[in-house]
Amino acid sequence: MSRATLSKNQVFKHAGRVAWRKVADEAVILDVETAAYFSLDGVGLRIWELIGEKRTVEEISRELTKEYDAPAETIRRDCEELIGRLRKEKIVEPA
């Protein structure tokens, strides 16, 4: 799914096929279907955590804007890009 098709009101959740742990400021995510694993750190980790709180895409961007010193538009774009990638990898899915 590309960034352009993400709606700001969409809510995602961690997919049922993954397990994850926070290890040394990184999220390590294991996909049991493919046995592939992913790691997210920094802003990526924070986005992953906020997805776990069932926030909308817009709410996640707004929260990150409060936490990180970067232009809101940049944060929104990066956030949508990452969620799009996670969805493409099927490790997040619509809630």
Binding site: A19, R21, V32, E33, A35
Partner: protein, 423 residues
Amino acid sequence: MKDRFVFVDPPSPPGFVSFKHSHGGYGEFCRESRLRIPTLDLFHGASLLLDNGFSAEIVDSVLEGHSLAQSADEVVRRKPSVVVIRTACASLPRDLELAQNLRKRCGAQIIIYGPQLAAESERAKAREAVDAVVAGDAPAAFLDIARGKTPKEASGVWGDNLDAVPIPRWDLVDYKRYTYVTSQTSWGCPLGCGYCSYPVTQGARWKTRSIGSVVREFSALRDRYRLRYVQLRDPEFTFNRRRTVDLCTALIEAGVPITWGCDTRLDTLDEELIELMAKAGCLRVTFGVESLNPQALRLMNRPVFSPEVIKAKAACLKKNRMLAYALYIIGLPGETRKSTRELIDFALELGTEAASFSMATPFPGTALERLGRARGWISAPDPRRLTSSVPSMRNADLSAGEIEEFYLEAKLRWGQRKQPALT
């Protein structure tokens, strides 16, 4: 001049992907798989030589998707003086083709190794194509050979000093292309399930590495190789509760260097231990259900667990946010059409995140092989069929063809299931 060793994981047979470390090293060959898993003992052998000042390289033709010709080209290009070929039960004839090709093209000494070569009949087949055959815990044998012993003299065993097992040099290949890398912290299994190869290839005595050596390896995987997950290949990771507690505690004290998955048996897990393992970074637990049929389980020297007990343990894994991976064997002696249908239904009902179905396979030296031979159930003495995705035996009630039909049905129904949520 010191020998230049090149270790080779030969190409997968056409239409299959090989996993030579499976079944205690006898190997598994899957018809379809996107997984690429390293053959750990190959890395142990090469790394042990490097740690002791010898030259060693690895050609992983499974990872590279080589044909036999491409694999030979790659080995020859590295100008070896010793070529070490890792074979497995089902791939020996094809691996010997590679050996013969290499013998014609380079002057290197050709050695082949694999646990099934402990059997004289298999060694005899291999001898014609290679200069030396090594069976058993081969990695340590290669150090002996590098030090000038003949392969016959090489002891080939780690003995009790499992801390001599080196930290694998994963950068000998493009290791990031593996689905995950693997490690092993204990060897052998005294539980003696009749279908299982591990007691045959690694011994019935349970042997472990020290906690410190495991923590050092996990830390190296993170710091040196930037890895975040390792799959443990211990036959029975939680066999000794005290050791599991000590290892998990040490990993927690070390800041959980890496996440990991393990294989074990449900009766060696309890809620408290599962919670501790989760805290120590465990993300995935693979366990054998194998069968629900009391007669089949008794014939295979395996305790009978009620479906309720299995469900409770699987639920506990889920509660601790671990992925549960259940294993089932179709067609064990004692299984009937009815009990096999019940087993498949149970697999779907249990709803683990992953499941693996295999067909009963009479691996050399197992009680299943002895029983199958005694009853005339082994339809395919050809070792090329010794992989659990190809039917190789029947039982009193099910023909080999029926076992394959149930196996395919199980895989199909599993593929069509609704994905359970990990809550």
